[in-house]
Symmetry: C2
Subunit: 449 residues, 2 copies
Amino acid sequence: MTDYRRLRVALLGAGAVGSQVASLLRKHGDELADRAGAHLELIGIAVRDPDAPRDADLPRELLTTAPEPLIVGADIVIELMGGIEPARTYLLQAINSGADVVTANKALLATHGPEIFEAADQVGAQVYYEAAAAGAIPIIRPLRDSLAGDRVQRIMGIVNGTTNYILDRMDSEGAEFADVLADAQRLGYAEADPTADVEGYDAAQKAAILASLAFHTSVPLEAVHREGITGIDKAMMDAARHAGYVIKLLAVCERLPGRGDRPESISVRVYPALVRRDHPLASVHGANNAVFVQAEAAGNLMFYGAGAGGVQTASAVLGDVVSAARRHLAGGVGVGESNRANLPILPIANVTTRYQITLEVDDQPGVLATVAGILSEGDVSIATVEQTVRSEPVPGNGSPASEPASDSVARLVIGTHKALEQNLSETVGRLAASGVVERVVSVLRVEGD
Amino acid sequence: MTDYRRLRVALLGAGAVGSQVASLLRKHGDELADRAGAHLELIGIAVRDPDAPRDADLPRELLTTAPEPLIVGADIVIELMGGIEPARTYLLQAINSGADVVTANKALLATHGPEIFEAADQVGAQVYYEAAAAGAIPIIRPLRDSLAGDRVQRIMGIVNGTTNYILDRMDSEGAEFADVLADAQRLGYAEADPTADVEGYDAAQKAAILASLAFHTSVPLEAVHREGITGIDKAMMDAARHAGYVIKLLAVCERLPGRGDRPESISVRVYPALVRRDHPLASVHGANNAVFVQAEAAGNLMFYGAGAGGVQTASAVLGDVVSAARRHLAGGVGVGESNRANLPILPIANVTTRYQITLEVDDQPGVLATVAGILSEGDVSIATVEQTVRSEPVPGNGSPASEPASDSVARLVIGTHKALEQNLSETVGRLAASGVVERVVSVLRVEGD
């Protein structure tokens, strides 16, 4: 065994990811030492309850309920507690006591990122967070470093495994949201309280982190427009499939060129969107994640892999630990974040996308003309219209229905050209109140064409 | 404009990539300065002929035929000349005169990598080479840094755009190799002398670079087994399609577990292989590249994008330049390569893969038994056999032939279980000499199952 220098590593948190990190650090210790050029000595693991059951077998003597002594004695602090406090306090304490830090805490970075990066800058500490954006997929270094000489135009990411799992099963099995969610909870793909995933909060945190890196602009979580997938039902999935689309929860980070008085700006948003079936993101199945990046010079890039999971995420954390160790030995300070572009962030009302609007209307002459007139007045330009008389399966009869229903209701599926969100939502309001529209079935954005 | 420090950047070479690098450096100078935290001042461009036509409009006063004065005056030297000499001499000169270096020179790194990394280590210089392995796809940082805490088990890469373009068109159009190659040359996808691409030399250089990073082992180019695609014809493509495969030129880098007396080792090889159509690599079309990575903890990852092209590759080079500048400002020395694992590299004879063997045999009773016997003696285990009587289109008749040919020749397509290359090639030799085999139509490896 080579006589390497020792670097003291403190671990805060021993949940699904933390216990795997500790286990791999010990299992592959010699190999990691060869790569880092230093022995990575795990000096302790701060936990709330040393007697709680763990995913991996950790030596009892490393567990402690007192993080502070660990932090002040460490060269590298790994924060895997999650949540804002006390994670924030401990991370700042680690930075200020001279440690380099590794974290997978997306909630903390999306809300207190600037404070943490500023504190690290002050003392020259390094902050690594590869695991915070898309689990095991290496996306932080590509955005921060590999694409630092390019101009990222657009990111479309499937960055939440739970929602992709649910939507993928709804799509492939024709199942309802509630049934798949219940099954996902049973199988461990979704939490008992699924809000953070299905309402898009988790994806919004990751979108804030990705956009900050891609556009060299600090993007606060509040600036991310967020919609979840709880409103997506089987009928919408079926209609999307029929039209050659699949519904995916997307994190969209977009650079918008300056025009007239408006300066160059960015938009960051999370919502379920229609994606064409031949788009690379459409073939991301199960709980996998993928980040599709369009850059001015590099063109289209895609990064694909596992978006969650204890051992997968531990891979990203340990890559950061080895990087931190190498840099610790090589000297120099952390390079800090590059947020000097400071692009303005557009509110969702000012964003333009394509839409697909599905309406149930009275099956009367002149209705289409009325609808088209309202859209035109609202500055929403129609690209395609499909009109079908509504037909439903006859109860108790398993064969597909072929008879038109008797209540004279037609379904209009309207694809728009790019329209301003504000115009679109006002126009949909006017359609709903027009008297000819019985029901606005769905309004979905179309991305990636 | 912020009052940044000036970093002097010298560019060696102004071909397809170099001229784009120079052009983007000047076009986005202020933005790159904000990201790097320093003005990247292009102090000169060394070229062979200042009057040669260029892809981008470069100021005449920056062009020089004398690289040495540029090199000694630079903080960062970008080497885009290609080839071994004088690129090697200039790169070493840059390192020894205190510059950090960026290169896209795969030939140089695959043959003189250790010398260059050693020289950089001696003086603490940084060496960046993101553009050397898969064009614009960020793969160097993911392998070197993001996966540094994991154990890469296997890489399968489509790392040569020209051959993927040719094979993809052969597959989708049913065209012959020579015709597509000629067309590719006309369209600029292949060089006038296509040897480096179609014989797999370019892919082998990239495989050496990827394997060195993934396995923390210096892999010399000579240790990479290399086969090209010139032997692939329409009939092989059609047969592959019929069997649910597509033929791709793959760079395979594999970790082989120790067993008995044999230590853990690696294998690095480039050859055309059968890939199942539902594998993510099968949907990499045109001149695109993709690198599929399997790691112990992270699971399956894939990196996809443009593998070549001047402006795409320039993106990777400029990302390196910004990284080098940031690190230059932050201080500290280059972290160096991590080749301490020093795994032995197995020769191809000791590698096991699955094979598909296509034979033309006498259509006589007992022939299959003879063939099966020879395979069994050679320790090659049969997984599947398909026998078809050979049928060919009747000359002058455009309709598909349905009559069996009259010469009593049957075609056997044999899929094997994993077999040792040495056993396989000896067995194929014995089959050819057995008297019952008229012709060995093809022997292809199957990867990615």
